[in-house]
């Protein structure tokens, strides 16, 4: 007994204590609490650049709280030798540093020691609860549950993840999306109370959508999280700011001068994303130097222009080229795929090796979204429908990553899901939304996957492809 105590005392003399802080406590609260009960003066890891600190930094303090982990590394000073024991009396779990010695870090350099310990904790944390945890996890889980009934396109692109362990906390808040199309039906109930900035570039026609196409595209890119009358969720960036530029007439046609004016308007309004579900027919090589110059200048100013590749193909026999203006190298061209990830029969392809490529693919067959009243909702096909999927998801990435312009472009293509179809037809692959891993607050072995509740939103009971059933074992 005495020998054991003596050994422990020796270990305690050389090391520190690891204190697991109460769940849900933030660093500021924890520092105050610990300092209060222990008489120590702890610092936060946030006080160090990039939260990196060394053994020397630790030695200069009574201890440091690792902000992201909710763990404190504490030195016990002889003058307040009972401070550590006070933690255990206050619902904090205390471990001695000998736990760290057991994984062989004792002889490493100080930096490796701290980094190794951090990595080990991260690894265990990731294995148990996922790699990213934040305070918003709880509320975001609720909103995701509300969205289980969603279009196949939203599920396939991870806007509404079908993997129970993932969720999507992004909604496009703070991001402006410009939809350059036939306008928008301002009387649609799903957008009631939602501010919409609009401008018509069609002489003699108001921005009100007399066609329905623009309202459909707007619905996919920016439609609501919940709707009183839709059969399923169809909107992606439901908190994004909507900018409607009417560049096509109520008959669905126009000149590309209005489109340039619309792009200029969107940039002037600092829209991060421009969605253009339109095309000018083209045969033969070449692309518009004017549009390419405009798009490159847009990218340089942080505006990403996304356009439909066109619906002129009749596969498998005929594959037409990507049409104007999507064939410009600085405009992201979108191809369409169906629910089975096959290229849509109508979707155009990248026939020229150095330009006019399809850059990315998105759901474009059987796309349910809003349209003008009285029809209110419609299921349509087209690269026109694929394009606002990419635009909405671009807004989510812009929110999640802070990236703009060409960097946002690269994020979209680098995170796309590779498809088996040729890059000529789908580019980098199927666009994917940013997601986070769920925070699971209970021990996994006490809550087997078989008992995970099936998420059903009574408002959206229809699940067209039903991948969520994967969790029913």
């Amino acid at each position: 007994m005495s020998k054991t105590l003596k050994k422990e005392e020796k270990v305690e003399y050389t090391g520190r204590y690891l204190v697991l802080l109460p769940e849900g406590s933030n660093t500021s609260d924890s520092i105050n609490q610990i300092n209060s009960i222990s008489g120590l003066n702890l610092k936060s890891s946030l006080e160090f650049e990039n939260e990196f600190f060394t053994d020397k930094d630790l030695a200069k303090t009574d201890g440091i709280i690792l902000d992201k982990l909710g763990i404190a590394i504490v030195n016990e000073k002889p003058k307040i030798e009972n401070s550590i024991s006070s933690f255990g009396d206050n619902q904090m779990i205390v471990e001695k540093e000998t736990v760290v010695y057991a994984i062989g870090m004792l002889d490493e350099s100080t930096q490796n020691y701290v980094e190794g310990y951090r990595d080990a904790i991260n690894q265990i944390t990731n294995a148990l609860v996922g790699s990213e945890i934040d305070e918003s996890s709880y509320t975001e889980q609720e909103s995701e549950v509300e969205s289980v009934g969603a279009t196949w396109g939203l599920k396939a692109t991870n806007v509404v993840p079908t993997n129970f362990l993932k969720y999507n906390p992004y909604n496009g808040a703070g991001i402006k999306i410009a939809i350059l199309d036939t306008g928008f039906d301002f009387t649609h109930p799903d957008f009631a109370g939602r501010p919409v900035v609009h401008q018509s570039f069609i002489s003699g026609e108001a921005t009100q959508d007399g066609h329905g196409h623009g309202t459909h595209c707007t619905g996919t890119a920016c439609g609501p999280l919940n709707s009183p009358s839709a059969s399923e969720r169809y909107g992606i960036a439901y908190a994004a700011s909507i900018y409607i530029g009417k560049v096509l007439s109520n008959g669905g046609s126009g000149g590309d001068g209005a489109i340039l004016a619309g792009i200029n308007w969107a940039i002037a309004n600092r829209c991060e994303v421009v969605s253009m579900s339109l095309r000018g027919f083209l045969t033969g090589p070449g692309y518009s130097a004017v549009f390419e110059t405009a798009a490159a200048r847009a990218l340089a100013q942080g505006t990403l222009i996304i356009a439909a590749a066109g619906n002129d193909s009749s596969r498998p026999g005929t594959v037409k080229q990507v049409m104007h203006p999507a064939n410009c190298p600085s405009i992201m061209a979108v191809g369409a795929v169906d629910v089975n990830m096959n290229v849509a029969s109508f979707s155009n392809g990248g026939l020229y090796p150095t330009y006019g490529a399809v850059d990315i693919a998105a759901p474009g067959v059987g796309v349910y979204s809003s349209t003008k009243l009285p029809t209110k909702y419609a299921t349509w096909n087209g690269t026109s429908m694929a394009t606002p999927h990419v635009a909405g998801i671009a807004a989510l990435w812009a929110q999640a990553s802070g990236l703009r312009g060409i960097n946002l472009w690269r994020k979209l293509t680098s995170t796309a899901k590779v498809l088996s179809s040729p890059a000529r037809d789908v580019g980098a692959g199927l666009v994917q939304a940013p997601t986070k891993n769920r925070l699971i607050k209970f021990p996994i072995d006490r809550f087997p996957i078989e008992r995970v509740p099936i998420l059903v939103n009574p408002r959206f009971p229809i699940d067209p492809i039903g991948p969520i059933e994967k969790i029913i074992r």
């Binding site: 130097a289 004017v290 110059t293």
Partner: protein, 67 residues
Amino acid sequence: MKSKWLISIKDGSLNTVSNDLKKLGIKSIETLESIGVIMIVPTNQKMADIKKINGVLSVEEERDINI
């Protein structure tokens, strides 16, 4: 309705090109500053004459666009 011509302009040359277009007798001039493009409705000008203006990058005729 006459179709427009779309003119992309070198950085910093919008004003000088716009003035030169006016000198050619073009009255309908729309400047898109954010993208550096000028749109005009030509009367009896030739596209080659527009391309000769210092600061003009390219000139194209407006195309028809559909959904």
